[in-house]
Symmetry: C2
Subunit: 192 residues, 2 copies
């Protein structure tokens, strides 16, 4: 049991590094960039709060678990901003290697459990993963609306780009949230 | 449903401010102070990872929910460092008012649900709350060990103070974690 706890604690110590991974979105009205640890917390709170907008059959607690660990791979692979240009296959390979190393710090049974949950999130096929992915796409626009455009300004994002890139995963996993968001983003971006 | 979602989104927008609440502990080997949002994420990950060290009957997912919202009151009341000197009754009154205002942003049924969960955490009487509280006391010493003493140096904390203030809640809610931690802290503090 002691070796088990040693490995769990090594994983939790490593996880601290997610607090140093900077994202493209901002916090506190634009004061600074968000890091992936506080982003993960905010998303988990989104899941806790918005559970009644999830499609039927979604397990809210399982979605929360998924969101708590969905960005851990960024400790090695970094954050790939959604409007940035990056090679998707390189990112996927980097994240696979990161998952092996980081979840691999845990006892084997737990490493397998958490890695499977991360892979389910990445695949975005199950109802839980689709809802989790929808939230992961839904929070940043709200941060941008609260910080005068944030990453939309940095990347010169138009309404068309926004709808094409961000719309499908939100509309698929959480349609009522997309219906709420879209008019607000349209109104904002049309004024830029 | 739309007014319901408006209120949930107002709550989630307000929650962003927890990312600006600074704690006494450090992150990333001592590079900067931790904020309460990333702390809450880290604690939820502790609960996810260390569930097998929880006393029997503890509901891991419920503990995670509790930890996600346990510090929200700090948006109004600020963080009260455990080794600092502050008036406990003033802090408690400030936090009660904060809970009323912040959870009160939510639809009434949800405001009541989340506020009850927060009050259960504060009371630290149920098995879930005792485990959650133990993790909330267990994470900072690990951050201090990883950042050359961190807040222990700032507050001149001795082994005796540490054991008296930090020991009881951890030993009560998660005895195996206390057994793991104590020799490590003793070894570190005895060298200061």
């Amino acid at each position: 049991m002691s070796d088990r706890l040693d490995r769990q604690m090594a994983f939790l110590a490593e996880a601290d590094r997610l607090k140093g991974i900077e994202r493209a979105t901002r916090v506190l009205g634009g004061a600074r960039f968000e890091n992936s640890a506080e982003h993960s917390w905010h998303l988990a709170l989104y899941a806790l709060t918005l559970g009644d907008h999830a499609p039927e059959g979604v397990d809210r607690d399982r979605v929360i678990r998924m969101l708590l660990l969905h960005d851990l791979v960024e400790i090695d692979a970094g954050d790939a901003p959604i409007f940035g240009s990056h090679d998707a296959s390189t990112t996927a390979a980097d994240e696979e290697a990161a998952a092996r190393r980081i979840f691999g710090l845990l006892p084997d049974d737990q490493a397998a459990e958490l890695r499977m949950l991360w892979e389910e999130f990445e695949a975005a096929e199950s109802a839980d993963a689709r809802f989790a992915k929808a939230l992961d796409r839904f929070q940043p626009p709200n941060q941008n609306l609260a910080s005068d455009g944030g990453s939309w300004r940095d990347y010169g994002v138009t309404v068309e780009t926004f709808e094409a890139r961000i719309g499908p995963p939100i509309a698929r996993g959480a349609p009522t949230l997309w219906d709420w968001l879209l008019p607000r983003v349209r109104a904002f971006l049309s004024r830029l």
